[in-house]
């Protein structure tokens, strides 16, 4: 399976040049870029590991791409995403987020059902990869 989180998961994987174009767009808007990685892509995992703090005041797209590649080198076989943050009053949140690396094999998620009263079922989404300890999930 292919996890479809992020802005561009239905498109072919972005090349470095295409990533740079998106980064430049964010910079032109005055947004701060950041890089995050994880080996636990559960849909409710909202805290991926930060690859450094968001790059506030960074005007150089090449430097952002450099960080993406440094993160890839350090964390091969994980998910990596690029985010843009807008600190304008009334937004103060993420305004872009797209995946730039995936593990070569994505085992996906199972659905655990607990039957309850009436016809009710409680659902738990279970990541097959996350049954293994952190650091050994996609190797």
């Amino acid at each position: 399976m292919k996890i479809t989180q992020g802005q561009f998961s239905f498109l072919p994987d972005l090349t470095d040049e295409e990533i740079r174009a998106q980064v430049d767009y964010a910079i032109s808007k005055g947004w701060a870029l950041s890089v995050e990685w994880t080996d636990d892509p559960h849909p409710r995992n909202c805290y991926w590991n930060m690859w450094g703090i968001p790059m506030f005041e960074m005007r150089d797209g090449a430097a952002v791409l450099y960080e993406v590649n440094a993160c890839r080198k350090e964390h091969a076989e994980t998910y990596i995403k690029v985010n843009a943050f807008d600190n304008t009053r009334g937004v103060e949140s993420m305004v872009m987020s797209f995946i730039v690396q995936r593990p070569s094999h994505e085992p996906g998620f199972g659905l655990q059902r607990t039957e309850e009263h009436g016809r009710t079922i409680r659902y738990t989404t279970h990541s097959y990869a996350a049954t293994r300890p952190a650091g050994h999930r996609y190797s």
Binding site: M1, I3, T4, Q5, Q7, F8, S9, F10, L11, P12, E18, A21, Q22, Y25, P41, H42, P43, R44, C46, N83, A84, R89, G90, V91, E92, S93, M94, V95, M96, S97, F98, G108, F109, G110, L111, R119, T120, I121, R122, Y123, T125, H126
Partner: protein, 507 residues
């Protein structure tokens, strides 16, 4: 002798020695009988609206022979404290505070003398904040649109726009979730959300209905939606629908690793039943419920409170709005409805598509979107916004574009509405010849390709069709979708377009 305006005998007025303007002498003013509204003090051309006043602009069509200024004064009177005759009991009150004040009347461009159309006027009326109960849309609407629209001396009247003062805005809680928190909960940023209304609206069993939800969400939609008239009819009990839909949502979430939702319509006959349905939706883990506009203001505010307490997104389907928003000369403009709904507190609001099957002039529709999404609306007459409106950090409403749109219009939709919108392709997903999942894939690929191209600096308004064609080269479902709906467009003249003076004088 009959007064041309009221149609009543003018004998009493003669007794009062009629004057054109406001009568300030208390003895004359409160002598029993009938006065003109202007004489009673509802026309105040010298009045400077206060920062704390509610200001309304009404489009009025006076009956033949009725003076425009007197008609405006009458609207002010009938939407505030006036009655048809003079009452001495006014003197027990600080009467002027309770009087709405018409302070400006403009001829609507393109009407009146020399145009062949009967004259219409924009009447500006200011209301003191003491007239309104804090945090109550029911109270505000009871005044502003309570009696006045049935008032005989007017052929027609329409509330075009409203400025709500900061002091009053602050008494409303607004959307329970808002655009920002909704996106954080869904973990979806930087692109419009994608939805679909389940079709056929009526007749599917719970299991069949859930199948459509499952296919749409697994294919790539973020949301699916109950239609406005899906409640709990003989063919599908509401509990069945909720159970099957939540199975579909959770399965789709596991298939994609992405958060999904289905707007469970909890509209019901009474509040007790709406709460019961909403509680069940919550117990099943739904992240969103929906209600229809026809439930009324009080029920909307109650459901908004419930959603705020239960971490729930509230989707508002504007079912019924066309009965009062569509005709240009009579009713309430949707921009006013949108303002009231933002105050009342909904998270999603159907606001039109401009290019789809339902009414909407593009600029006018953009005006509604701005009301939902901006922290401060600047006066923008070309989009129908008559006033600056400070929302004082009230959360933003996510507009929903739904009704007869398809992926071939993706570039137009994103150009018109940007990222903060739910694009709902119902028929445009479910009607895909290769199946519902294929329909969802086509829409999602079209959407992502267009956002990516826009961010890369492409002129999507013009290059949009080429961008879609390029993506269709590697995405068969998109190719089929573009071919299926290539000639579908709904080009009818809008009934509701802004009439505005390009260089307005300061009010």
């Amino acid at each position: 002798m009959l007064d041309g305006f009221s149609g009543r005998s003018t004998g009493e007025i003669a007794m009062n020695k009629p004057v054109d303007g406001r009568i300030t002498d208390v003895k004359t003013r409160y002598k029993g009988g009938v006065l003109k509204y202007a004489q009673m003090g509802y026309w105040r051309p010298d009045y400077e609206p206060k920062e704390t006043d509610v200001i309304c602009v009404f489009r009025i069509t006076p009956q033949e022979g009725v003076d425009a200024i007197e008609a405006a004064a009458a609207v002010a009177g009938e939407s505030s404290t006036a009655t048809w005759t003079v009452v001495w009991t006014d003197l027990l009150t600080a009467h002027e505070s309770y009087q709405a004040k018409a302070y400006r009347v403009d001829v609507v461009p393109g009407t009146g003398e020399g145009t062949g159309k009967e004259p219409q006027y924009f009447a500006y009326i200011a209301y003191d904040i003491i007239l309104f109960e804090e945090g109550s849309i029911a109270n505000m609407t009871a005044s502003l649109i309570g009696n006045v629209f049935s008032f005989k001396p007017l052929k027609a009247g329409r509330l075009e726009d409203i400025r709500i003062p900061v002091a009053y805005v602050k008494t409303f809680k607004g959307p329970p979730t808002g655009i920002i928190v909704e996106r954080e909960r869904l973990d979806k940023f930087g692109r419009p959300l994608l939805g679909a209304t389940m079709k056929p609206k009526l007749g599917l069993s719970g299991k069949n209905y859930g199948r459509v939800v499952y296919e749409g969400l697994t294919g790539g939609l973020d949301f699916t939606k109950d239609d406005e008239n899906i409640n709990s009819q003989p063919f599908m009990h509401w509990r069945d629908r909720f159970l099957f839909c939540m199975e579909a949502v959770n399965r789709a979430q596991a298939n994609t690793g992405e958060i999904k939702g289905h707007y469970l319509n909890v509209t019901a006959a009474d509040m007790e039943e709406m709460y019961a349905r909403a509680e069940f939706a919550k117990s099943l883990g739904s992240n969103i419920v929906m209600i229809d506009l026809i439930v009324g203001w009080t029920a909307i505010q109650s459901m908004s409170n419930w959603c705020r307490k239960n971490d729930m997104i509230l989707h508002m389907h504007r079912a019924g709005h066309g009965t009062y928003t569509r005709q240009k000369n009579h009713g309430v403009s949707f921009r006013v409805m949108a303002k009231w709904l933002r105050l009342a507190g909904v998270d999603h609001l159907h606001t039109g598509t401009a290019v789809g099957k339902l009414e909407g002039d593009p600029m006018t529709v953009q005006g509604y979107y701005n009301v939902c999404r901006e922290t401060y609306n600047h006066q923008d007459l070309s989009r129908g916004l008559f006033f600056d409106q400070d929302w004082c950090d009230l959360k933003k409403v996510m507009p929903v574009a739904s009704g007869g749109i398809h992926v071939g219009q993706m570039h137009q939709l994103i150009t018109l509405f940007g990222d903060d919108v739910v694009l709902q392709f119902g028929g445009g997903t479910i009607g895909h010849p290769s199946g519902i999942q294929a329909g969802a894939i086509a829409n999602r690929v079209g959407l992502e390709a267009m956002v990516k191209a826009r961010n890369e600096g492409k002129d999507i308004a013009n290059e949009g069709p080429d961008i879609l064609r390029a993506a269709a080269k590697w995405c068969k479902p998109l190719e089929v979708a573009l071919e299926t709906w290539k000639d579908v467009s709904f080009n009818y003249t809008s009934t509701d377009t802004p009439d505005f003076v390009t260089t307005p004088t300061a009010s």
